[in-house]
């Protein structure tokens, strides 16, 4: 477990879904307002469109870079990888999917890290959507549970930034039980009276929403994020009608009482910092 200092500003790998920032060229067209945005301006604005406020998706490393002071953090269990409990094969073996991700430098869909946030030591887990849709299997279950245990032991606040399609199908019911494993650890964190802030980003659905993402002392979301249990396509197929505009978006959840606040990315760190100050100091 080494200290990582990231001097370079976060860059986007791109290519993973239309809401990602493309790397080529000095400028890009915002997919929300269609305005031309300089990449440098976008970076300075934490990948939020300066014209319309559209939040581009960012990866887990960039997220940690934005939240920790000076981009300084210690990564836990960087080499933890799934052993493929079901020996699962679909279009290709799950083992091959995992191996392909290792080549991209990723071993699972979460980075668990510790470091200072406005000088306060915190644990942050950031989910990585690029890794099989940010899905939760045995590795995410274990890494987040350990992060919760670390938070209890050190009495350091916990922040989890979610971006996930839910439980990982390729690990079957083993994935499903990770919902319990993490939720019960959060019971102990709750009893220890150590703060936990859940940050929901685009998209957070399925078993991730139905476990730790909805169990924060504060549950907050970035604007416009898709948040739900069932995915919109599944619902449309079931009820055979189009879903209303804005359904399952952050603002919809706020209106229905399931989010405490919608916080813009440039305000996120200061919002978390002020909340922890309220809880802890």
């Amino acid at each position: 477990m080494a200290w990582f200092t990231r001097k370079k500003p976060p860059t986007e790998a791109g290519g993973e879904g239309e809401r990602h920032v493309r790397t080529e060229g000095l400028w890009l067209k915002c997919e929300s307002c269609s305005q031309i945005v300089w990449r440098k301006t976008l970076e300075e604005n934490l990948q939020v469109c300066p014209q319309c406020g559209f939040h581009f998706r960012i990866d887990a490393a960039a997220r940690l870079q934005q939240l920790f002071d000076g981009g300084q953090f210690e990564i836990h269990e960087p080499g933890m990888a799934s052993t493929d409990p079901l020996n699962f094969v679909d279009a290709k073996p799950y083992k091959e999917r995992l191996a392909a991700m290792v080549k991209q430098g990723l071993r699972d869909a979460v980075i668990s890290a510790s470091g200072p946030l406005d000088g306060r030591p915190v644990n942050i887990c950031a989910l990585e959507l690029k890794f099989i849709g940010g899905s939760m299997g045995t590795v995410m279950g274990e890494k987040i549970t350990r992060a919760v245990e670390r938070s209890i032991e050190r009495r350091h606040p916990l922040i989890i930034v979610s971006a996930s399609g839910g439980a990982r199908m390729q690990e079957g019911a083993v994935s499903l039980m990770q919902l319990v494993k993490i939720s019960q650890a959060l019971m102990r964190l709750d009893e220890a009276q150590v703060p936990y802030i859940s940050v929901l980003t685009d998209p957070t659905t399925g078993g991730v929403t139905a476990s730790f993402a909805m169990l924060g002392d504060l549950n907050i979301a970035e604007p416009g994020a898709l948040i739900g249990f069932a995915g919109p396509r599944v619902i449309e197929q079931t009820i055979r009608q189009k879903l209303p505009e804005g359904f399952q978006r952050s603002e919809f959840l706020l209106k229905h009482g399931f989010l405490d606040a919608v916080v813009k990315r440039p305000d996120l760190k200061s919002y978390i910092s002020a909340s922890l100050k309220f809880f802890c100091d």
């Binding site: 269990e77 960087p78 080499g79 933890m80 990888a81 799934s82 052993t83 493929d84 409990p85 079901l86 699962f88 094969v89 679909d90 279009a91 071993r107 045995t138 274990e142 549970t145 439980a167 990982r168 199908m169 079957g172 019911a173 083993v174 994935s175 499903l176 039980m177 990770q178 919902l179 319990v180 494993k181 939720s183 019960q184 650890a185 959060l186 019971m187 102990r188 009893e191 078993g207 929403t209 139905a210 476990s211 993402a213 909805m214 169990l215 948040i227 739900g228 249990f229 069932a230 599944v234 619902i235 079931t238 009820i239 879903l243 209303p244 359904f247 399952q248 959840l253 229905h256 399931f258």
Partner: protein
């Protein structure tokens, strides 16, 4: 593991599977068998003095989850389970056993009530899954399920969970945090329905049989993965062939579990449940990065 069930002709599915029948798919058919005993069939046979408690005291009553006070072989217990309907009218009333948020919240209310008065909790899992509808999302079904998972882990009474039919993902799991998790021989427990899984991985919901096998959802598979504690045998060709005997065997398994757990103090019960789920899914390695 061989079983009588595997000699049973599976019921005709809506989408015929192109693959030859496999044991996993046969069990799915049995778990969904139209005559399979449901929660209320077991309550009627295993308990006396069942007094149903309705409503979540916040939004409404959800008939897809039933629960109440009852006596199990003379002992006061709280029993809660998902309830599918049998005829069309009942299926609609029970929403095909798919709970909405108020159902999970009612269940939690009942379980907390049981814990307050030191009564053991027995839950029965039998649902295709949470309800994928606008209203269930509007009323926060994800939050409701999440809260149940966290709060069940805090209850200082014995909790015995039995998967009696379809253990459909988060909707089932919302009643699934127990000191003992039993599963009937032909029941299944899965992170996703075989049809939905097939639609994703094979782009063909008709390949559900293949997906059922890949997902390892049968009782022996789950026992092998360490996700359930015990398989409860079913009579004859499956529980639907003899309700009374099925209930008798299940009752015996519950009685044994209750006896063992009743010796534990509240804190020990909480720790026991915690340790059990803490160890689930240790399928990882740590390479040097």
């Amino acid at each position: 593991m061989s079983s009588n069930a595997e000699s049973e002709q599976p019921a005709q599915s809506a989408t015929p599977a192109p693959e030859p029948p496999n044991p996993a798919w046969q069990r799915v058919q049995l778990a969904r068998h139209p005559k399979r005993p449901h929660t209320l069939d077991y309550i009627q046979r295993m308990f006396t003095g069942f007094s149903e408690i309705a409503g979540d005291r916040a939004f409404g009553e959800d008939a897809a989850i039933v629960g109440g006070m009852a006596y199990f072989r003379g002992r006061p217990v709280m029993v809660v389970g998902q309830q599918k309907g049998r005829d069309t009218k009942q299926k609609l009333l029970r929403n095909f056993g798919m709970p909405k948020p108020e159902g999970y919240r009612k269940a939690l209310r009942l379980m907390r009530l049981a814990a307050k008065f030191g009564r053991p909790i027995i839950t029965m899992l039998d649902t295709p899954g949470a309800y994928p509808g606008i209203d269930a999302e509007e009323r926060g079904q994800a939050e409701a399920i999440a809260l149940n998972l966290r709060e069940m882990s805090r209850l200082g009474v014995p909790i015995i969970v039995i998967v009696i039919g379809e253990g459909g993902s988060g909707g089932a799991l919302a009643l699934g945090v127990g000191n003992r998790v039993l599963i009937l021989q032909n029941a299944v427990y899965s992170v996703i329905s075989p049809e939905s899984c097939a639609a994703i991985i094979y782009r063909d919901a008709g390949k559900a049989a293949q997906a059922a096998a890949a997902l390892k959802i049968t009782a022996p598979d789950l026992l092998g993965l360490g996700l359930v504690d015990e398989i409860v045998n079913e009579p004859g060709e499956g529980a639907h062939t003899d309700y009374d005997e099925a209930a008798q065997w299940l009752g015996d398994a519950i009685a044994k579990a209750l006896d063992e757990l009743s010796a534990l103090a509240p804190k020990d019960l909480i720790d026991h449940r915690y340790d059990k789920f803490r160890k689930m899914g240790n399928f990882f390695v740590e390479a040097t990065a």
